[in-house]
Symmetry: C2
Subunit: 82 residues, 2 copies
């Protein structure tokens, strides 16, 4: 996702679990909630405009990208399972 | 979680899926990534100090609470499955 990359490439945990998913709203579409996605866009836009992110903003943005990736991943799994 | 409540009580989606989870870092512990949790704390602290959140901040905070709840829920499912 643009200049940010997930903070870690190595998978730290593996588990095979059967999940009955009951997910609210945006999460049911395996996307970041609207307000959270807007915040990520705000941070990425700031960076794209040449304003370096603070350390806390960078950590936040990387975490949000990890969350978005994880949701996409769950969405792909759910699509394959259905 | 303090004064914020998940934005929706109604479950919008149900699916039963078998997932092989490969989750990075904090997500493997079914918690918000550190930098994202810090942002949520910042927003909640602001609110607790009597500074009302803007509409976008409120939407962001509610989405983050939904994400945290969903991760906890996945963590409970994973614990039950293991």
């Amino acid at each position: 996702m643009r200049r940010l990359h997930p903070s870690r490439k190595i998978c730290d945990m593996h588990a095979s679990i059967q999940i009955d998913l009951d997910l609210p709203g945006d999460l049911a579409r395996f996307q970041l909630p609207t307000g959270v996605n807007a915040r990520l866009t705000e941070l990425l836009d700031k960076q794209d405009k040449g304003h370096p992110l603070s350390e806390s903003e960078k950590s936040e943005a990387e975490g949000l990208v990890d969350l978005a990736d994880t949701l996409s991943y769950l969405g792909l799994k759910a699509a394959n399972a259905s």
